[in-house]
């Protein structure tokens, strides 16, 4: 820790709603990105799920939007310590998307337009825990927040909710994604403060 700077308070961190350890509340919606914002037309957008046997299921935008979707109200927790509560989204549940896939794979690796990747256990995508979301706050999801569609897995740190998702590979072997291969925790549970390797 550095020397204390007399009189420095920092941005408002005063609220103490029930937040995971080490988090502070924000009311705006910070945009974090490891590269330029991908600009993906819904005309060319495609989302796929590939199984460990190599079978692929794909949806174009029209097919994707024809699937049953639901309104989701969740809290977001970013590993950079900000939390945003009571956000509203609309998306297609991964339970719906995975319903057709014949798989016994335990691991998933999400791939995104722009090259980002993140990994998570298949179990964390099921049972109402994950969506491919296409609307935020009643509006089509903006590109800077991951639009046309992003993964939303709110029980884990937000880096797992991959923006601009295009494909999920179901795999027998786990493979760390973009941040998981640079020191970030392989699982990322905010309530156990699993930010970094070894946490």
């Amino acid at each position: 820790m550095g020397i204390v700077s007399p009189g420095f308070k920092g941005r408002g961190r005063s609220e103490r709603e029930k937040l995971p350890p080490g988090q502070y509340l924000v009311t705006d919606f910070p945009v974090l990105s490891a590269g330029p914002t991908p600009r993906v037309d819904t005309d060319s957008w495609k989302f796929s799920i590939t199984t460990e046997a190599g079978r692929a299921h794909s949806w174009d935008w029209a097919q994707f939007r024809a699937l049953p979707s639901e309104e989701i109200h969740v809290d977001l927790h970013c590993v950079t310590k900000w939390s945003k509560l009571r956000t509203t989204w609309r998306g297609v549940s991964l339970d719906t998307l995975l319903a057709q896939a014949e798989t016994s794979a335990e691991y998933a690796l999400a791939h995104c337009y722009g090259g980002y990747t993140t990994n998570l256990p298949v179990a964390d995508l099921l049972d109402g825990q994950a969506w491919v979301a296409f609307e935020y706050d009643g509006q089509p999801l903006a590109a800077e927040h991951g639009g046309p569609a992003r993964l939303l897995v709110p029980h884990l740190y937000l880096w797992k909710s991959a923006k601009w998702v295009r494909r999920i590979d179901l795999r027998a072997k786990d493979e760390p994604g973009f941040w998981e291969s640079l020191g970030y925790h392989n699982y990322g549970d905010p309530w156990r403060e699993q930010r970094y390797w070894g946490d």
């Binding site: 550095g2 700077s5 009189g7 420095f8 308070k9 941005r11």
Partner: protein, 250 residues
């Protein structure tokens, strides 16, 4: 190329604020005493770290404004309305306060007074700070390298170092400058109001034939526009060095 005296990794150091000077209503120059500070190369910056008493810390980069020299350095900080760090530095910090910093940083966006070639420095708002370090280094070294400053500002009230720049221009020793006023100009003066454009840039700066070294600093949008104009005017992209301050300008 000028280098800091000692080869070694950077660490955080604590200096003491010696003096604070008001440059404009919203920008202050902070003079920091730091015994053992090895000096810097013109164009380098420091990272400043502020820590609250609960351990929360915030960090920002600030260009060094002063000419190179040991034991003391000057930073000019523009107060940003919704900034987290700059309001502390312009409103709360006082002489005698500690200031934690790390540096000097950067060996690429630097100018060495031993270089005799022509230089074009293009500043957008507070982007003039590292370029002023170059201009001051040039004066301190007695360099005859031809220098032209194109300084884009919103209005005369936002100009940093106005008196000093005026004095240096009058010295007729190879330093010339021109202002680009984007919102309003000096009262009573007939000046063009508007952003940098190809005509203004070529009149105020060097032609590509002079092959100057070019340094551009300021908000991201300004830097990209200026770099693009210069490349279109025929300047070698490899001779253009940029330092973007980010969308808000630093």
């Amino acid at each position: 190329m000028a280098r800091a005296a000692v080869l070694g990794r950077l660490t955080w150091q604590v200096g003491t604020v010696a003096e604070i000077r008001e440059e404009t209503a919203t920008a202050h120059t902070i003079v920091v005493d730091l015994p053992g500070w090895p000096g810097h190369a013109a164009g380098q910056h420091v990272d400043v770290r502020l820590t609250a008493d609960d351990g929360y810390s915030a960090q920002r980069s600030y260009s060094i404004a002063s000419a190179p020299g040991p034991d003391r350095l000057e930073l000019t900080v523009q107060r940003l309305e919704d900034g987290e760090v700059s309001p502390y530095l312009t409103d709360t910090l006082k002489p005698g306060y500690p200031l934690e910093l790390r540096g000097p940083i950067g060996g690429w966006f630097v100018w060495d007074p031993a270089e005799p070639g022509p230089v074009l420095v293009v500043a957008g708002g507070s982007g003039v700070v590292p370029l002023m370090s170059m201009i001051r280094a040039r004066a301190a070294a007695g360099s005859a390298a031809p220098f032209r400053l194109v300084y884009s500002v919103r209005s005369p009230e936002t100009v940093l170092y106005a008196a000093e720049l005026e004095r240096l221009s009058q010295a007729a020793d190879g330093f010339q400058m021109s202002y680009v006023y984007t919102r309003s100009g000096p009262p009573g003066a007939k000046v063009r109001i508007g952003r940098l454009n190809p005509v203004v840039l070529s009149a105020a700066g060097w032609t590509s034939a002079a092959a100057p070294a070019v340094f551009i600093c300021g908000p991201t949008g300004f830097v990209e526009a200026a770099a693009s104009l210069l490349v279109k005017a025929g300047h070698d992209p490899g001779a253009i060095k940029t330092e973007r301050f980010g969308p808000s300008g630093g």
